[in-house]
């Protein structure tokens, strides 16, 4: 699961001037023909850098996203919910593996990516810096955070980089279960007893602001983002993804009698666009920069897993093994 609001590197004015113009033209022609780029193809440095950053952030989001939901496996109501949530969390970690491999084909090792996650150098989806207080929070994540992620991932799966597309195709197929499972959990609470309804409503109220942050702030149309769109790295603007999410899911939330904590939220029937109160973007920045309720815990858990699992990796390490990046 992953949202928009990618932190792209700023582009130097000379970034493209240094590239071989003939190779660049061939590269762009290939993308224009609708052909995918494969790992051994020539590609501009900027393309490689932005893709590594994007796929790496996506991979980190999968394994960090498993933490707030994983919290609830042992306390999920009933055996069936426990089995399903465990399967979902296993899927998310599996998605992380697929994505790390895709990023590795671009030349950054998995070790380096995990180091950069733990040191705070690379980011993950901001929404996972918020805690899951109750079972209903876990249900909200399973349904709606995954729904948001699917909007984003379906868009990205039409991008230009072969290994990322292949990973996303597999991920999107598996996410179908998450979405239906999450919806089922929310339906159950929202149509249940008064206490269950209240618990679900509180979770919705709590998670709506980070959900609105999820797709990132309105993107300014810059030369930079135009190039990323042309190269099919960035497939849809943050606003387009947010609008699509609102369009698909607000009616489904409302039909369950749940209220969203934004009185201005409505679909403008003339423009076809959803209108809403801008969420607090200062808070978004603050949390992304480390000052959220769970940033410290998320990274501490990752760091401990790395440190305390080291002896296992060491015991299994073959001294004459040599590293080869995944092929595809």
């Amino acid at each position: 699961m992953y949202g928009g609001g990618n932190v792209f590197e700023s582009m130097k004015a000379t970034a493209l001037a240094d590239e071989d113009p003939i190779k660049l033209a061939e590269f762009e022609a290939r993308i224009d023909r609708g052909e995918k780029i494969e790992p051994k193809d020539w590609m501009p440095q900027l393309y490689r850098k932005q893709l590594i950053r994007m796929i790496e952030q996506h991979a980190h989001s999968e394994i960090i996203g498993a933490l707030p939901e994983g919290t609830w496996i042992t306390r999920a109501p009933g055996f069936k919910r426990k089995m399903a949530l465990m399967a979902k969390v296993q899927d998310e970690v599996g998605h992380g593996q697929l994505l790390y491999s895709a990023a590795e084909t671009l030349g950054k090792s998995r070790e380096q990516m995990l180091d950069d996650l733990v040191s705070g150098k690379s980011k993950y989806s901001n929404i996972f810096n918020y805690p899951a207080f109750t079972w209903a929070d876990s249900c909200f994540i399973s349904w709606l955070v995954d729904a948001g992620a699917i909007v984003n991932q379906v868009a990205n799966s039409k991008g230009s980089y072969g290994p990322y597309c292949r990973a996303l195709e597999r991920i999107c197929a598996e996410e179908a279960f998450h979405l239906k499972y999450g919806h089922h959990c929310v339906i159950h609470l929202a149509t249940g007893t008064k206490i269950q309804q209240e618990m679900m409503q509180e979770a919705v109220t709590r998670w709506w602001p980070p959900m609105m942050h999820f797709f990132g702030p309105s993107d300014k149309i810059s030369v930079h983002s135009e190039i990323l769109m042309k190269w099919k790295v960035k497939m849809a603007s943050n606003d387009e993804c947010r609008q699509q999410f609102l369009d698909m899911y607000v009616p489904k939330i409302w039909e369950l009698g749940l209220k969203l904590p934004d009185d201005s939220l409505r679909k403008n029937t003339e423009t076809g666009q959803w209108e809403f109160t801008e969420p607090d973007w200062e808070e978004f920045k603050r949390v992304i920069n480390g000052d959220g309720p769970c940033n410290e815990e998320r990274l501490a858990v990752r760091r401990i897993a790395e440190e305390r699992g080291r002896w296992v990796r060491k015991a299994l390490l073959a001294p004459d093994a040599k590293y080869v990046a995944p092929l595809a």
């Binding site: 994983g70 399903a84 697929l98 180091d115 149509t191 990796r313 299994l316």
Partner: protein, 207 residues
């Protein structure tokens, strides 16, 4: 002081806030070498590349690939593992040009080993198992493959693997996938909520 968390499992870890951060730098190969995995879902279907895994040896790679690539769905017939470094990859072509166009057919005629051939028919799609050729070496295997497996569709990339480097699941062990059908809770189809929503709407509708 140890970290406070809502998660009882995190609480039990007793993570010190001052835990030494320097130790987390990973050495080269801390996450092991890579293997490519291939899956045939059902008898008669093609054997396709599905992705890679990191593992310390072939047996572990097989186990990881089984979890990573065959835990979902109803069936799996065959799973193969090859160490990435044992795959010879051809050049890539594009724009309806087959990579075989630049392969000279000049077979040595010397047959020493078996090689497995995989084709990529579309950029962005997985490699697919095509068949086996007898040959002297990788280049010879490419040349033989061009003759034995002519393709109407352009082939954009070829992988050649010495057959001795493929670890393939044993037919007798197929029952490791028998339980897939019991895990319906992993499938979207197991979650039907429309009836509950309908009943709820009828209940709250004003008479």
């Amino acid at each position: 002081m140890s970290l406070k968390s809502l998660d009882p499992r995190v609480g039990r870890l007793h993570i010190s806030e001052q835990e030494d951060n320097d130790k987390t730098q990973k050495g080269a190969l801390d996450q092991f070498e890579t293997y490519e995995a291939f899956v045939q879902v059902k008898e008669g279907k093609s054997l396709d590349h599905v992705g890679s895994v990191h593992a310390p040896n072939e047996e572990m790679a097989f186990l990881f690939a089984k979890e990573q690539y065959t835990r979902r769905g109803m069936y799996c017939n065959t799973l193969c593992i090859v160490k990435t470094e044992n795959i010879m990859m051809s050049e890539f072509s594009d724009n309806k040009i087959s990579v075989y166009d630049s392969v000279t057919v000049n077979p040595t005629g010397i047959i020493t080993e078996e090689f497995e051939i995989f084709h990529m028919f579309k950029r962005g799609k997985h490699h697919r198992f095509i068949g086996t050729v007898n040959a002297l070496n990788f280049e010879d295997a490419m040349a033989n493959s061009k003759v034995f497996y002519p393709s109407e569709k352009p082939v954009y990339n070829v992988w050649v693997v010495n057959a001795k480097h493929m670890l393939t699941s044993d037919d007798d062990d197929r029952d490791i996938w028998d339980t897939l059908k019991e895990k319906q809770y992993r499938e979207a189809i197991d979650y039907k909520g429309q009836d509950i929503i309908k009943a709820y709407k009828e209940k709250i509708a004003p008479d």
